[in-house]
C-alpha cells in the first residue's frame, strides 16, 4: 500500500501539509505552507485509497496532469490557468505543488451554495476569461478535453481558474484525443458529439469543440444544470438572461460544428462585443490545390495528421513535416486582418514588393540554435506578425515550398 500523507507531515523537507482540501477520482489535495518562501500552496498526490479506479489508471492520469502543467509553466502560464510551482517525490509518492486559488470555489459548488448566476454580465465575464484561457492552451498544443464545472474554480471576484488537468493532454498522433491511450471515452453533457463519439465519427475535432463546452458551461452558470442536448437556448430552459447571451450560447452549442463559432477567440470576441453575429470573415484560396476556405479571427492553418492541437484548416504537407501542427493564425484588430506566425520554419507573405518572411520567437530561437539563417531578405530579424491586404499571397515554409494561399478580405 503506498504511503498516505496526513496534515502535519512535511513533504520533501519543504512543504508542511495543513488542511485537507478535497479529493477526486485521481488525486487528493492539501493546503500547505512552503517553508522556503512562506507561501501557501496546494499539494496534490494520487488518490490511492479513496478512488474506485485501478491504481494504474490513477497513476496514468496523475502523470498526464503533471505533463500538461509543466508545458503550461514552460509557456509562461495564463491568468486563468492553475500554475505549477514544483514537482517532488517523497516516500515514493509523487506530489505536484500548485497554485492555491485564493478563496476559490469549484463552479458546481458555487452554484450549489449560491444558486445559478442570474446576472448576464457576470456570466459573460466568466465566458470571456474561459475562452481566453482555452485559446492560450490551444496555442500551446494542449487540449483540455474535459471542461466542466468541477474543473473550474471561481474566485470571489468571479475570475475563473482552470484547475484539473488530468484528462488534458497533447494530441496523440491518431488525432483521436478523447480516447487517450487507453481507449477511454469520457462522456458528459459538456462534450460535443465529435468528442464524445470520437471513435465512431469522421467529424474532426478542433477549436470548435472547446467552444461547445464553454457554451454549455455558460448555460450551467445561468441555470445550474446542463442537458446533453445540443443547440440549447437558455430561454427555453427558463433562464432569464440577456438575449445576446442566449443567442451566443445557442450558437456555441450547435450539433454541427460548422454552425458554431469557429474557435475560442471568436467566442471571446462575440462575448466582448455582446453581439452574437460571427465577426467578419475573410477567405483564402489554396492555389496549388484549387481549394477555397473561409477564415474567421483566431483560425489557424496547420499540417494534417500532426501531433498537436488540430488547426482550423489542415493541409497535407507536400514534403513531409516542414509545416508545423499550427503554422499560422489569423487575427483582426481595428478592422484589419493580421497573420501571426506560430511555426518553427516560418511563413512568407508577398505584398506586391516581394516576399516578406514572418517568424515567431520560438521558430527564430530554434533556427538560431541550429545555426541556420533566420533573417528576412533585407538581412533583418523578421516580424512575428504582418498586416494582410486583399490579394496578398501567403506561402508556408518558403515561397517555393508548394503551399501558397491567396488572401481575400470580405
Amino acid at each position: 500500500m503506498p504511503w498516505e500523507p496526513e496534515p502535519g507531515d512535511t513533504i520533501a523537507g519543504r512543504y508542511e501539509l495543513e488542511e485537507f482540501l478535497g479529493k477526486g477520482g485521481f488525486a487528493k489535495a492539501y493546503k500547505a505552507t512552503d517553508r522556503d518562501t512562506g507561501d501557501t500552496v496546494v499539494l496534490k498526490h494520487p488518490n490511492y485509497t479513496e478512488s474506485q479506479n485501478e491504481e494504474s489508471v490513477i497513476e496514468e492520469y496523475f502523470e498526464k496532469e503533471a505533463d500538461s502543467l509543466e508545458r503550461i509553466a514552460a509557456a509562461g502560464g495564463h491568468e486563468n490557468v492553475m500554475d505549477l510551482y514544483d514537482k517532488v517525490r517523497f516516500r515514493d509518492v509523487p506530489f505536484l505543488v500548485v497554485e492555491l486559488v485564493e478563496g476559490g470555489l469549484e463552479l458546481d459548488n458555487v452554484i450549489d451554495e449560491h444558486g445559478p448566476i442570474e446576472d448576464s454580465e457576470q456570466v459573460r465575464q466568466i465566458g470571456i476569461d474561459l475562452a481566453d484561457a482555452m485559446g492560450f492552451l490551444h496555442e500551446n498544443e494542449i487540449v483540455y478535453r474535459d471542461l466542466k464545472p468541477e474543473n473550474v474554480m471561481l474566485k470571489p471576484d468571479i475570475t475563473p481558474t482552470l484547475i484539473d488537468f488530468n484528462t488534458a493532454t497533447d494530441f496523440d498522433s491518431t488525432g483521436d484525443p478523447s480516447t487517450g491511450n487507453q481507449g477511454t471515452t469520457i462522456l458528459g453533457p459538456f462534450k460535443p458529439r465529435e468528442v464524445a463519439e470520437a471513435s465512431r465519427t469522421d467529424v474532426r475535432q478542433g477549436p470548435w469543440s472547446d467552444v461547445y463546452s464553454i457554451g454549455k458551461i455558460l448555460l450551467f452558470l445561468l441555470k445550474g444544470s446542463v442537458p446533453k442536448k445540443d443547440g440549447v437556448n437558455p430561454h427555453d430552459f427558463g433562464a432569464d438572461c440577456d438575449d445576446y447571451l442566449a443567442e451566443i450560447v445557442e450558437r456555441a452549442t450547435q450539433s454541427d460544428y460548422r454552425h458554431r463559432y469557429r474557435n475560442a477567440t471568436v467566442l471571446r470576441d462575440v462575448l466582448e462585443e455582446k453581439d452574437p453575429s460571427p465577426p467578419s470573415t475573410a477567405s483564402i484560396r489554396y492555389i496549388q490545390a484549387g481549394k477555397q476556405f473561409s477564415v474567421e479571427p483566431g483560425d489557424t492553418i496547420g499540417r494534417e495528421g500532426a501531433n498537436g492541437p488540430p488547426a482550423s484548416i489542415t493541409i497535407e504537407d507536400p514534403q513531409g513535416e516542414y509545416i508545423s501542427s499550427v503554422q499560422v493564425q489569423f487575427e483582426t484588430e481595428g478592422g484589419e486582418w493580421y497573420l501571426v506566425d506560430r511555426s518553427l520554419n516560418g511563413t512568407f507573405v508577398q505584398q506586391g514588393s516581394g516576399w516578406q518572411r514572418v517568424l515567431c520567437g520560438a521558430g527564430r530561437d530554434r533556427l538560431e540554435e541550429k545555426g541556420e539563417d533566420y533573417t528576412d531578405r533585407h538581412g533583418e530579424e523578421p516580424p512575428e506578425s504582418i498586416r494582410l491586404e486583399d490579394g496578398d499571397l501567403i506561402s508556408l515554409v518558403h515561397p517555393t515550398y508548394g503551399v501558397t494561399f491567396e488572401f481575400k478580405a470580405e
Binding site: G24, G25, E50, N53, V57, D112, G224, S225, P227, D236
Partner: protein, 394 residues
C-alpha cells in the same frame, strides 16, 4: 435485429457428473435510427416537507427544465401528490401547449400534508396508459419523493410497479433527503425496469429529470426481454442485472422457460445479466444448457448457452475467472445498494478465498464497501452504478 446477444460461462468444460457454473449474457444494442416519441409523466411529491430546503422550488424548476428538452410530438403530464392527488397537467402533446401555459400549471402546484405516493403513481401511470404507443415510443414515469407512504408497504408498491411495467411504462424513481423509504424507491425503479437513485441536494433534481428525459430519447427498442429455454435438469438461480444498474431479478417461470425482463434498450448501451446455472450430469460431448432469445422492439435474436462435458483434466482446468468476478461484484454492489455492508463483506471474504486478496476486483470491492460504510444513501445508490469497463470514475 436492433441488438446482438452474446453468452459466456466461467467453465467451458465440465465433468460428466455436472457442475455449478456462472454465466453472463450481454445484450449489445445497435445504433439508433429513429428518435422515439417520448411519453413523460412527472410524478412529484408535494407534501409539506418538500417545501423545506427548497426542494419544491427545484422540482418546479425540474419540470421547466424538462420542457426545454421536449420535441413537439412528445407528450408530458404532471401529477402532484400529497394527501391528495392532483393531475396538474394531463398528458399533452408538447406541440399543442405553449411553454408559458405549461410553466403556469407547474406554479399552480399547492402544498399539502402527507405522502400518498401510491395514488400519485397510479394517477401518473394512468395519464399515459391511453396514449397511442408502439415500438417507437419511450414511456416513463419520473418519480420524486422525500417521504414515506405510511399506508402502503414495499410489497404493495412492488405489485403496483409490476402493473405499471406491464403497460410498457418504466419508472425512474428518486428519493431525496433522509426520510423516504429507500426500499420502496429501490423496488419501484428495479421492478418497473427503470432505475433508482438518491438525490443528495435539491440542486440535483433538474439533472435527475433532465437525464431521464434525454435517456428516453436514446431508446432503440422498448420492452426488451431475455427468454431462457432451459434443458431438462438444468437449474438457473441468482439472476442479476449487472448493467446499467446492479439489480436483483426474479425471472418469470413458465414450465422450462425463464423470462428475464430488461430495461429498454438504449443506443449502443450494453446491458449485462449474470446468473448461476447448474449443469446436471450428462454423457461426454457438447450439450446445450439453454436457448437464449432476446426479444426487443418486435424483433428477436437467438443464441445458445452450451458447455462441453469432458474427462480431460487439462480442459477441465480452464476457468474464465472474469465471469465469476463479474457475478460476485454484481452481488456485492447490489447488497451495498441496500446498505447491507455485512452481506457485502461476507461475499468479499468468499471472493478473497477464491481469487486472492491481491486481485484488483477484491481490492476495488473493499474500497466500495468502505465508502458505503462511511457514507450514506448517496454512496449506496452510487455503488450500484459503478462504471467498470466502459469508463472511469471522475
Amino acid at each position: 435485429m436492433t441488438a446482438n446477444v452474446v453468452t459466456d460461462v466461467n467453465r467451458p468444460y465440465v465433468p460428466a457428473g455436472g457442475a455449478k457454473l456462472t454465466a453472463e449474457i450481454e445484450v449489445e444494442p445497435g445504433e439508433q435510427e429513429i428518435e422515439p416519441v417520448r411519453h413523460i409523466a412527472l410524478c412529484i411529491d408535494s407534501s409539506g416537507s418538500m417545501y423545506e430546503g427548497g426542494n419544491m422550488d427545484r422540482a418546479r424548476g425540474g419540470a421547466e427544465w424538462v420542457f426545454g428538452l421536449l420535441n413537439d410530438d412528445d407528450y408530458v403530464s404532471i401529477v402532484a401528490f400529497d394527501t391528495e392527488v392532483d393531475v396538474v397537467l394531463d398528458a399533452t402533446r408538447w406541440g399543442d401547449i405553449s411553454r408559458q401555459d405549461a410553466v403556469e400549471k407547474v406554479h399552480d402546484i399547492q402544498a399539502g400534508g402527507g405522502t400518498d405516493m401510491y395514488q400519485g403513481l397510479t394517477a401518473a401511470a394512468d395519464t399515459l396508459k391511453d396514449l397511442p404507443s408502439d415500438e417507437n415510443t419511450a414511456r416513463r414515469v419520473l418519480l420524486l419523493s422525500d417521504g414515506k407512504d405510511n399506508t402502503h408497504d414495499p410489497p404493495e408498491f412492488e405489485t403496483l410497479a409490476r402493473e405499471i411495467d406491464s403497460a410498457g411504462i418504466r419508472i425512474k424513481s428518486a428519493g431525496i433527503g433522509e426520510d423516504y423509504r429507500s426500499e420502496t424507491i429501490r423496488k419501484l425503479g428495479s421492478v418497473a425496469r427503470g432505475d433508482w437513485t438518491h438525490l443528495q441536494a435539491s440542486g440535483d433534481i433538474e439533472q435527475f429529470f433532465g437525464d431521464a428525459v434525454e435517456e428516453a430519447g436514446s431508446v432503440v427498442a422498448p420492452d426488451a426481454e431475455l427468454e431462457l429455454d432451459i434443458a431438462d435438469g438444468v437449474e438457473v438461480s441468482e439472476v442479476y442485472r449487472a448493467l446499467p444498474q446492479t439489480q436483483e431479478v426474479s425471472p418469470e417461470w413458465n414450465a422450462n422457460s425463464a423470462v428475464i425482463k430488461l430495461p429498454d434498450l438504449l443506443d449502443r448501451e450494453t446491458q449485462r445479466v449474470v446468473l448461476k446455472i447448474h449443469a446436471p450430469a450428462r454423457p461426454l460431448g457438447e450439450h446445450q444448457l439453454a436457448d437464449v432469445t432476446l426479444t426487443a422492439g418486435g424483433e428477436t435474436a437467438t443464441t445458445a448457452l452450451s458447455v462441453e462435458y469432458s474427462d480431460d483434466e487439462e480442459l477441465l482446468q480452464q476457468h474464465n475467472e472474469d465471469i465469476d468476478i463479474d457475478h460476485k461484484q454484481t452481488v456485492i454492489q447490489t447488497e451495498l445498494g441496500k446498505g447491507n455492508v455485512a452481506e457485502a463483506q461476507t461475499q468479499i471474504e468468499q471472493m478473497t478465498r477464491i481469487h486472492g486478496a491481491d486481485t484488483d476486483a477484491v481490492q476495488s470491492a473493499e474500497r466500495q464497501t468502505q465508502i458505503v460504510m462511511e457514507g450514506g444513501r448517496e454512496e449506496q445508490s452510487r455503488a450500484t452504478k459503478i462504471v467498470t469497463d466502459e469508463g472511469i470514475q471522475k
